[in-house]
């Protein structure tokens, strides 16, 4: 006899935990399945044992164990994709809390025009401005519709920041390009590190509009809307790759799970690798899921009325493909939807050296804190003469540079990578330099997509997901343009030397060095079932009792970090499930 629950949630990260909270509030019984292990701060974040770079960011304790499951990657359709065997370019999470446990904490909303980028580009520059082969699309949802859910998420995350405009009134020195807010940030902005303050002054003097990054690192102790408490961030720098020992970086584990675990209608099953969503014979209704208990290696099935996929972006797409939800994307005919519009972000980190009398103390940092400018992000500048779509915020986000990472990254590009001269440059770089990032958008292209690999399989016998991805001219030129704007700022900062890093024409995506874990798309939302896998409520067009929550829904990779958007989309979807779907299950939008 298969156990029945009202709702099954796949993945115990932000998306899953938000949905579990919302659905239990609605009175549903919920089982949340997590393929990784249980994770709690007293164990993972024990002080001072967790202040251990080798165990954390280097041996990657909290990240996905690739020996069980990975992806294959190729740059172009005519190549053989090869397995991503060692974690490097991107670092998906695993275990309770998911990537939400080891993330940095930059917590943005969205640039409103990014939600309707196709329409905005056409309105301003005409349809011909869109390059051939670019699948530029709108989300099908507006900023005004999402605003209450951004607000709700910030009050759960304990987000620190400085607003610019609240209910039509200018209230502070926030981001002048940001849209109207219904309320302030729940916590004041994080302090500026020295590096950030130098950047703030220089950017301002250069005529730009610096603002404090919105951070889900608590600038003071905080009790959120669920009664969950956070400690204050003390800039220890152990955010990305770590479970925050001060309970000050928002995570599902700190901000939602404490209250969910008290909820009798909720249960969490760790070490449960979901093999597939089970569909009925019509393939239009899910009946439940089948998972493998990775400890006992036994398969179990659960039945449910409602299935939420809340796994990491590409795992959601993988589950849809192996389960037969929706039509797989075909890049040749540009038809089908699952795997379409796979996107990433264009991120390059430049370095600026200050005089030897100035110490940047790069180990002082917080993953979400820093100072940014949006003058070259989204539609905030004139693309007309530039001829590309998209943009990048530029920022100093000193997240706490640890010595092993600094040592591995030092040298190269003309300076020795070992020996005494290398040590000279390492010490000088560590003590006196700072990083400036261009953290940009990545557009979707017809021949950049996800499908199932024909050769390699995971530890459970299922085909690996295959990524076909490389950098395209539009994004390379965008990155080069924005990076060129860093130079005068760096000069104004008093740079004695700088190393401006940008993408180069013809340079393929390289899987060997870390760029970002901000993967997106593959099962995108939209208003047309021919070009999107999900409707505007993140409901599968094809199987209406399946909702797919995550950055997989983004039609383009945006300049901002994705977690805030994912959280808002989760609350948005949950709202419509609670207010409409549960009263009358079925498609929320007529196909």
């Amino acid at each position: 006899m298969v156990k029945h629950v009202d709702a099954i949630i796949v993945g115990a990260g932000w998306a899953g935990s938000i949905m579990a909270k919302e659905l239990t509030e609605a009175g549903l019984s919920v089982v949340m399945l997590e393929r990784g292990s249980e994770r709690t701060t007293p164990v993972e974040g024990a002080y001072p044992e967790s202040i251990d770079e080798l165990r954390g960011a280097i041996r990657k304790r909290l990240f996905q164990n690739l020996s069980q499951s990975t992806v294959t990657i190729r740059n172009t359709i005519d190549q053989t994709a090869l397995p991503y065997r060692q974690l490097a370019a991107f670092l998906p999470g695993e275990g309770v809390g998911g990537a939400g446990l080891h993330w940095s904490g930059v917590h943005f909303r969205v640039a409103p025009e990014d939600l309707r980028l196709r329409s905005a580009v056409i309105e301003r520059y005409g349809e011909k401005f869109i390059p051939e082969g670019m699948n530029l699309q709108d989300y099908g949802v507006s900023y005004e519709e999402l605003e209450p859910f951004f607000d709700k998420a910030e009050k759960v995350f304990g987000t620190s920041g400085e607003a610019y405009r609240v209910q039509g009134k200018i209230v502070g020195n926030g981001n002048v390009f940001s849209s109207d807010r219904s309320d302030n940030f729940p916590l004041p902005a994080m302090k500026d590190t020295f590096s950030a303050s130098v950047f703030r002054d220089a950017a301002k003097n250069a005529g730009y509009h610096p603002y404090s990054l919105p951070a889900a690192n608590a600038s003071r102790q905080y009790t959120n809307t669920y009664g969950c408490q956070m400690g204050p961030c003390n800039f220890c720098g152990y955010c990305s790759g770590y479970d925050c020992y001060l309970y000050s970086k928002a995570s599902p584990n700190v901000n939602i799970l404490p209250v969910l675990r008290q909820e009798p209608r909720f249960s969490l099953i760790p070490n449960a690798h979901v093999l597939r969503v089970d569909l009925d014979s019509t393939k239009t209704k899910a009946t439940g899921i089948t998972y493998l208990d990775t400890k006992t290696r036994k398969e179990h099935s659960l039945s449910a009325d409602l299935i939420i996929l809340g796994a990491f972006q590409f795992n959601n797409v993988h589950l849809m493909l192996v389960s037969g939800i929706g039509k797989p994307y075909d890049p040749v005919s540009n038809t089908g939807t699952v795997g379409r519009n796979f996107v990433y972000q264009t991120i390059t980190s430049s370095r600026v050296w200050l005089p030897p009398s100035t110490y940047t103390n790069q180990f002082v940092g917080a993953g979400g804190a820093g100072v940014a400018i949006d003058d070259f992000n989204s539609m905030n500048f004139d693309h007309g003469p530039l001829g590309f779509v998209g943009g990048s915020p530029v920022w100093v986000n000193q997240a706490g540079v640890k010595p092993i990472a600094a040592a591995l990254g030092a040298g190269g590009g003309g300076t020795p990578r070992w020996g005494s001269a290398y040590k000279d440059s390492l010490v000088n770089t560590y003590k006196h330099s700072l990083g400036i990032d261009a953290h940009g958008s990545n557009m979707a292209y017809r021949d950049v997509y996800l499908d199932l690999d024909p050769t390699w399989k995971d530890a459970y016998g299922q085909p690996l997901l295959r990524m076909t991805f490389t950098w395209k001219d539009n994004d390379i030129r965008m990155n080069q343009y924005v990076v060129s704007k860093i130079e005068p700022i760096a000069r104004a900062m008093g740079a004695t030397k700088m190393n401006l890093v940008h993408l180069n024409a013809g340079q393929p995506f390289d899987t060997r060095t870390y760029q970002t874990t901000h993967l997106g798309g593959g099962a995108i939302m939209g208003d047309n079932p021919q070009t999107s896998a999900l409707n505007r409520y993140l409901q599968s067009w094809d199987v209406s009792n399946v909702f797919v929550i995550g950055s997989n829904a983004f039609p383009q990779g945006m300049g901002y970090n994705p977690t805030g958007m994912v959280a808002a989309l989760a609350y948005w979807a949950a709202h419509h499930i609670r207010t409409t779907y549960l009263k009358s299950p079925g498609p929320l939008v007529k196909a």
């Binding site: 165990r55 041996r59 190549q79 060692q86 302090k191 303050s197 002082v364 092993i404 020996g419």
Partner: protein
């Protein structure tokens, strides 16, 4: 090969466990710092590497990270010991790597595609470098001059040398990566002795609290490092 000296039994029991809960339990010391000090007080006997391999590591790591005016080198920092201890961890067995075949080689930017885990890379790589050193200079690597050693390392880094079935550059990158880890990891793992790596960089270690020092207007952070076990400098 087995340790040749009559090392105390406790030591051989706990060696591979350094830094784990089991280590603290097995060490029998009430304080972690004392357990580590006891370990450090005795000459290290490698478990994974044989004596010749260990001598290669001591020599090669010191060239990669030499003692100089910046601070101690790999030998003083205990990098070879760190490497030997790491060889007894899941990392060395590639337990977090996807190691299912087939193993097809492709463009470099698609990443590592060899069927070897770190343990294999060291065993094969060291043997290959020793062969190369004898071919080129008629002596084992450790017996060469610093200049000759640097020539070999430069050749490996440049990608012109193949070490049997391992490209020289792959071995070089593995060795460089682990050497730098050993210089800067918490001393819990056997390297970064006396917190020498951290002192060099001004890194404060496991204190992890900058509430009073978020922005010092360009002055350096004023307090010396502390390790997880409580060693200070």
């Amino acid at each position: 090969m087995e340790p040749t000296l009559n090392a105390p039994r406790r030591r051989s029991v706990v060696k591979g466990l350094l830094g784990t809960t089991s280590f603290w339990l097995a060490s029998g010391n009430a304080r972690w710092s004392e357990a580590l000090a006891d370990e450090a007080a005795q000459p290290y006997r490698p478990i994974f590497f044989d004596i010749a391999e260990y001598q290669f590591l001591e020599a090669a790591c010191e060239r990669l990270f030499p003692a100089d005016h910046n601070g101690p080198g790999a030998k003083t920092l205990g990098v070879a010991e760190f490497l030997d201890r790491q060889m007894q961890t899941p990392y060395a067995r590639g337990e977090n790597w996807y190691m299912s075949g087939p193993f097809e080689q492709g463009p470099a930017n698609l990443g590592y595609q060899l069927p070897f885990v770190p343990k294999d890379l060291y065993r094969k790589g060291i043997a290959g470098v020793e062969r190369y050193a004898r071919q080129q200079y008629g002596k084992g690597f450790a017996a060469l001059s610093a200049l000759q050693q640097d020539e070999i390392l430069t050749a490996l880094e440049g990608g012109s040398v193949q070490l049997g079935d391992i490209p020289g550059r792959v071995f070089f990158e593995q060795l460089r990566t682990n050497t730098l880890e050993g210089a800067f990891a918490d001393p819990l793992y056997g390297g970064n002795r006396g917190l020498g790596g951290w002192i060099m960089l001004g890194f404060p270690g496991a204190r992890a609290d900058f509430m009073d020092w978020v922005n010092q207007e360009g002055a350096s952070y004023p307090i010396g490092p502390v390790s997880i076990s409580g060693e200070t400098a």
